[in-house]
Symmetry: C2
Subunit: 292 residues, 2 copies
């Protein structure tokens, strides 16, 4: 799995570099965008897209522009998240955050540019993708990244601050802030593959379980993780009184919940696709055991 993830990351990074080569000016804006995008991220979201295409035996080349667009959106959200007015983070993946490196005004605009550029890429024509598919994908993207998705979850997370919140608010935040952007690449893959309804049903359920697992694991890593491996400050959630699974259930119970979700996800996909689901099963294990 590690090998597969590395190879896929390389493919995605090449696509990102390719996309960046079309930008010339303003020079510092280009540098900021490159810095934000090429920072050694795990590329989990775009890899999920490529894996979905492979599952349905579609050439992954079809998904590359969408993979880059997803990374633009994901990384814009990180750049803005890290700002002094929000998480006020100094490091991300062991590097200075964008506003520490380029300045605060610049970081706001670099984030804005990344988000807008995602839609620039999404609106590009592709010989083998119909306008109908393009519009459907755009609708999924704006849903996942928008008010009923990532921004909504992020807004509640940020404004909940020191308030004690309940499990349903925690779940709202997880589903919207992280979950929908984890589900998005699988949804895009299904559209590109013209998947049938029963495939869509299974894969969406799988994606939702994976998304929630990812967030629980993130919460656990913030308690137990290692700065060097994680590349960012540990214990921030607790210091900021963030609502997390460990805060609500304790670390041990959170780990049990994580294991249950991952088991369910694996069962679901093995039952439907058997050996063809091998990579997704490995990804589940990787997600549960990752240290960064």
């Amino acid at each position: 799995m590690e090998k597969y993830l590395k190879e896929s990351s390389l493919i995605i990074e090449n696509s990102i570099k390719n996309e960046l080569s079309e930008i010339n000016y303003p020079t510092v804006l280009k540098e900021g965008i490159s810095y934000a995008l090429l920072n050694g991220g795990k590329r989990l979201r775009p890899i999920l897209l490529l894996m979905t295409l492979e599952l349905f035996e579609i050439n992954i080349e079809l998904g590359l522009q969408y993979a880059v667009a997803i990374e633009c959106i994901h990384n814009y959200s990180l750049v803005h998240d890290d700002l002094p007015a929000l998480d006020n983070d100094t490091y991300r993946r062991g590097q200075l955050t964008v506003h520490k490196k380029f300045g605060e005004a610049e970081a706001i605009l670099i984030g804005d540019a990344l988000l807008t550029h995602a839609f620039h890429i999404l609106a590009k024509e592709h010989r083998d993708i119909s306008h109908n598919q393009m519009i459907k994908i755009l609708q999924k993207v704006t849903e996942a990244a928008g008010i009923n998705g990532m921004i909504g979850g992020q807004f509640i997370d940020v404004t909940s601050g020191d308030k004690k919140v309940d499990l349903s608010t925690l779940q709202y935040i997880h589903i919207n802030k992280t979950g929908k952007m984890m589900k998005l690449p699988i949804e895009i893959g299904l559209i590109l593959a013209n998947a049938k309804q029963d495939d869509i049903d299974t894969m969406i359920k799988f994606a939702e379980l994976l998304g929630i697992s990812f967030q629980i694991k993130d919460d656990i890593l913030d308690v137990e993780g290692n700065f060097k491996k994680l590349g960012k400050t540990i214990g921030k959630d607790k210091n900021q009184n963030k609502i997390t699974y460990p805060a609500l259930f304790g670390v041990n119970e959170s780990k049990k919940i994580l294991e249950d979700k991952i088991s369910l996800a694996k069962e679901l996909i093995i039952k439907k696709y058997g050996v063809k689901a091998e990579k997704f099963v490995s990804l589940c294990d990787y997600m549960m055991n990752r240290e960064s």
Copy 2:
């Protein structure tokens, strides 16, 4: 003209309210988005779209969703522009700026939500608009708002700070930061009207002259304007050592340049459309003489 502008603003505001009624949660995010969008703006950009449709005898209903999307993008850019790290403004159109009213983290996210929501609207199906037209419009929008448009211009403007810049940099900023978003509604109108190439050529030239005139007038108002009428702080450009037409040429010469551009724009459109261009001619006069 004043009457026409008022009536059109009302139509656009109703479309905005209509669009907002689909948002339910998070409540404060919805409030922030409404506050930013319904702040008594001049609605010049969406009105240009409706005027273009009228010129080509197309039902303006066809443009309403795009009018709202343009306002979302325009207002996201204002919300982020006003932030402490950028222009650090307290008032806009006589009201507190979004970050002064809702907080800084909230304002960043409200801006992000407005930008994303613009694309949500742009990706909505409309019975009388083809997928082909939708994609073309999306491409124009990402061009106008993106790295080779508004964001690029804004980035150079912000990072030029105290540096002395030359006329070509000033023009780059004007064309990209303001000009392309002023041209965009006319471009969208032309796509919706399936306009012929000679119409496109004339209207684009007209739009470019209008865009640059708008910015020169803005610069002059920052020197000579009236806080009460303008609803924002006067003299900010000079205090921040911003590059402007008055700074480079003086106020009188800037007024002469403005008059020349407006004359050219009027000539162009009268020659092509005669009396049918009446509203555009009035708009030119309005632009030159506006006090806010």
